[in-house]
């Protein structure tokens, strides 16, 4: 939570009740808040001021949250982070993450959960991925590929800015549930990606008993964290969690 202290959060919402409460919440945690009623206003504010995080509705008159996301990520992929709050969108969650949004929080939500999520996303990847979960996840998936390129080609594994696309057999995990994983690559800069994360979306593949899943990284083992960060640092990857 200390991450929020002094951070600048841009709140974008056409619902004035919600906008008021968001401001109250973030202000009470020591944030500087900026307010906008639609994507267009928000983009103009983000252009003129330093903004650390954008918390935005998706469906709004004049200019939608997606339009705002597109324009912000064109300028800078990592800052500000974009957290969507949405009751219903014409767009599927996997698309939202693929377009580069760092989070999609469905309405209605717990304010405290939202704030926690924002705070977490504001911390650097290094520290964010360092804390091992208190207990191991019930679900654990494991896959092997020759290398990254083959993983993509096989449509089995794609690495994103904050998570990965992984195809694996078995039952479909629930969205927002924790999941443990180990992906081994026989060759290349990355040989292993191991840790714990959260399922952000999961879909049955066309073929039976195969799941396409978007997983956000919460923790990477000490052995794998470094290579992943290094690998990411050399690339500008738009999807926070890629899709196929």
């Amino acid at each position: 939570m200390e991450r929020l202290q002094g951070a600048t959060v841009l709140l974008v919402e056409d619902e004035s009740d919600m906008l008021g409460m968001l401001r109250f919440e973030f202000q009470s945690l020591g944030c500087r808040t900026l307010l906008a009623k639609n994507g267009l206003e928000a983009f103009e504010i983000a252009q003129s001021q330093q903004v650390d995080a954008v918390v935005s509705d998706i469906r709004m008159p004049k200019s939608s949250g997606l339009e705002l996301l597109r324009r912000l990520k064109e300028v800078d992929l990592c800052k500000p982070i974009v957290i969507f709050i949405s009751g219903y969108a014409d767009i599927a969650p996997m698309e939202v993450y693929n377009l580069g949004a760092e989070a999609l929080v469905p309405k209605p939500f717990r304010l405290r959960a939202l704030v926690t999520r924002v705070a977490r996303l504001l911390s650097p990847l290094e520290s964010r991925w360092s804390a091992a979960p208190a207990k191991a996840s019930e679900r654990f998936v494991e896959r092997q590929f020759t290398n990254l390129a083959e993983g993509e080609e096989e449509k089995g594994f794609i690495l994103g800015r904050g998570g990965m696309f992984l195809r694996f057999p078995g039952a479909r995990p629930k969205p927002h549930s924790p999941i443990g994983f180990r992906v081994e690559l026989a060759s290349g800069a990355l040989t292993r990606i191991e840790g714990a994360g959260t399922v952000r979306w999961a879909k049955h593949d066309g073929e039976a008993r195969r799941i396409n899943c978007g997983i956000e990284f919460d923790y990477l083992t000490d052995a794998t964290r470094g290579p992943v960060l290094k690998w990411l640092a050399g690339r500008s990857i738009r999807p926070y969690i890629p899709r196929l």
Partner: protein
């Protein structure tokens, strides 16, 4: 003496031949006196006829004192009863002669003395006049032989006269006859034709006499003609009347009915031929045949019934639908085709029919021979006689068993279609509604969370507390409003009863479901202020559905337009209310507007609905005895729902 007589007889034969050529009765008399004087050696000679009043004689022609021809056709002389002439005309005697008596001129004046002879003109049945002669000019004695010769001449003239009179009568008759009449001699040459014959054939009378029978013969009738001729030559009897065709001058054929009879014409055997134009009759027969063929084989039942209800005609279909054949049901009573229960309605309809003259499209149930019953659609009318009195009743009957079944299937399909269309429209709105509901829920949830936290603190921010409780209550109302509108929209309300509903409430229901969607798209909505007391008697949910449908259409119409607004309007027109939905679109082109209410008509892309919305909306409004139409006067697209405030009937 004998030689003279023989010579005279020879001349008489010539004269006879000449007389036979006379064109008319008058002509005959004129020639008779002239040739009597010139060829037969009569002195003065005249011919008199018994007048139509038999107490008078009427003159014809005569030879005068100077041997001149006298036209005496204007003269009349009384016949004194008991006179010699009376005896000669009405008795047995054939001739009379008187010698040494005064001879008179046409005026009755005595101009000399001499002998006078008269012979009766005999037509074979009676005396019709006299041929008179005297010796005024030449004073030669009139001998017994002369008198005998006069008798002979009179008898010839009498015969010729009667023949010619008959011919004259025939001609007078033929002149005005409705039939064409020609007389053909043994060689087939026309020797007579009447004006009607000329009219029917298109030839002039002169042309008819030149062309002869061959000129009129229709080539296709030649075999029949030859057959008749051969039969006649063999002495067999041939029909006196037959139908044939002749060729007119312009080459067209004319259907005729021909009657022939053998006769003599001017002494020679001839054929008298009557022919009557039967083309109209033929045409009518053809027409009748056509209609009968149509009726016989029509796909629907046709029947004709007399006024007492007995069948005098039925076609195959009519008989067939009852499991009968047409031949077996002629004369049948109507009760053959209906059960006793059905007859009640049939009799009622018959009463109507007799009163009104016709009825159309009545559903009437019939009975099949096998005892099953089936529905028909019947049209009946009375056929009137020439005096305008009812004569017959005609009926057509269509078996609508299949149609009724189809109607049921269609009705069932329609219900399904309406349901799926409603589902489709709900589907398109489902997303909108989730958003509608989740936003207030998010607000409530957030407010409650903050409220909880504030309450746990010692120093509560009272302003914020009030604000948060306000948010909760406001948003709960919002959800309630949405759910309310949704309930009204989603269920099948076609069985609801009519109830008076404030129009304002209907508008609020519909707007609640659309407001945010419109706002998100930047579509300005304008709603009228409606008087709370403005009520309409309707099925509330259905009218809401119509309004939501129109709003959805308006949304789709302007979603991508540069100028985006939708305006709801209400106009109170005393008995009816107009509820209008106008959008910023530039109006529908007339060809689209005309089809807009057709089922499955849509201007939207694939997947945006089945195009049943307007068609169903219209049927809903019409069930309310209202109308749904596009206002042609409006520069923008404007749909008008016009509803009666009080639902009439039902």
């Amino acid at each position: 003496m004998v030689e003279k007589s023989l010579e005279r007889l020879g001349v008489l034969a010539d004269v006879w031949g000449a007389l036979a050529q006379a064109e008319s009765v008058d002509d005959l008399c004129r020639i008779a006196v002239e040739l009597g004087r010139e060829r037969l050696g009569f002195d003065r000679i005249a011919i008199w006829f018994v007048d139509t009043d038999p107490s008078y004689l009427r003159g014809s022609f005569g030879i005068g004192a100077q041997g001149e021809l006298l036209d005496e056709r204007t003269l009349r002389r009384p016949i004194r009863p008991a006179s010699k002439w009376h005896a000669l005309l009405f008795g047995e005697q054939a001739s009379e002669v008187e010698h040494d008596r005064p001879l008179r001129n046409v005026d009755g004046e005595v101009i000399g003395h001499g002998s006078f002879a008269a012979a009766s003109l005999w037509d074979g049945r009676q005396s019709i006049g006299l041929v008179v002669t005297d010796n005024l000019r030449r004073q030669e004695p009139i001998t017994e032989s002369d008198v005998n010769f006069l008798e002979l001449y009179a008898s010839i003239l009498g015969t010729l006269y009667s023949a010619r009179q008959g011919e004259a009568n025939f001609q007078a008759l033929a002149m005005n006859a409705f039939d064409g009449i020609v007389v053909a001699d043994a060689e087939g040459r026309h020797v007579y034709a009447n004006p009607r014959a000329a009219e029917l054939t298109g030839y002039s009378l002169e042309e008819l006499l030149t062309i002869g029978m061959q000129g009129l013969a229709h080539p296709e009738e030649t075999p029949a003609l030859c057959a008749r001729l051969e039969k006649r030559l063999r002495g067999e009897s041939t029909p006196k009347h037959y139908e044939s065709r002749i060729v007119r001058k312009d080459g067209t054929a004319l259907a005729v009915e021909v009657g022939t009879t053998r006769t003599t014409w001017r002494g020679a055997p001839a054929d008298l031929v009557f022919f009557r134009d039967i083309s109209d009759r033929k045409r009518h027969e053809e027409e009748l045949k056509k209609f009968k063929t149509i009726a016989d084989h029509a796909g629907y039942g046709v029947a004709i019934v007399d006024l007492a209800g007995y069948l005098i005609y039925a076609n195959e279909s009519f008989a067939g639908m009852h499991g009968l054949s047409p031949e077996n049901i002629l004369g049948a009573s109507l009760s053959v085709f209906h059960t006793p229960e059905q007859m009640g309605r049939v009799n009622k309809l018959l009463t109507t029919l007799k009163r009104e003259g016709s009825f159309t499209a009545e559903e009437v149930w019939h009975k099949h021979q096998d005892g099953t019953v089936f529905p028909t659609l019947m049209n009946c009318s009375i056929i009137y006689g020439e005096e305008g009195e009812p004569a017959f009743m005609t009926a057509t009957a269509v078996d609508i068993t299949a149609r009724k079944r189809t109607e049921q299937v269609i009705a069932a399909q329609q219900v399904k279609m309406i349901a799926s269309s409603r589902l489709a429209s709900i589907g398109t709105m489902a997303g909108g509604i989730s958003h509608e509901v989740k936003n207030p829920l998010a607000n409530i949830s957030a407010a409650a969370e903050q409220l909880e936290r504030l309450l746990s603190r010692a120093s509560a921010d009272t302003d914020m507390l009030e604000n948060l409780t306000g948010i909760i209550m406001r948003n709960v109302d919002r959800i309630d409003e949405i759910i309310h509108g949704l309930q009204n929209l989603a269920r099948d309300a076609s069985g609801d009863s009519f109830a008076a509903v404030p129009l304002k409430a209907i508008i609020e229901d519909s707007i609640a479901l659309s407001r945010t969607r419109f706002r998100l798209r930047g579509i300005r909505t304008q709603t009228p202020s409606v008087d709370d007391g403005l009520m309409i008697e309707c099925r509330r949910a259905l009218i809401s559905q119509v309004l939501v449908n129109l709003l959805n259409n308006a949304y789709d119409a302007v979603a991508d337009a540069p100028e985006r607004w939708v305006e709801l309007g209400v106009t109170d027109r005393e008995d009816v209310v107009d509820l209008t939905v106008t959008d910023s679109g530039s109006g529908m082109p007339p060809d689209l507007a005309g089809r807009a209410f057709d089922p499955f008509f849509t201007t939207k892309g694939v997947g945006q609905g089945m195009g049943l919305g307007l068609s169903i909306s219209r049927s809903i409004v019409e069930d309310h005895c209202g109308t749904l139409f596009i206002d042609p006067e409006s520069p923008h697209t404007r749909f008008v729902i016009r509803l009666p405030k009080i639902h009439p009937g039902k």
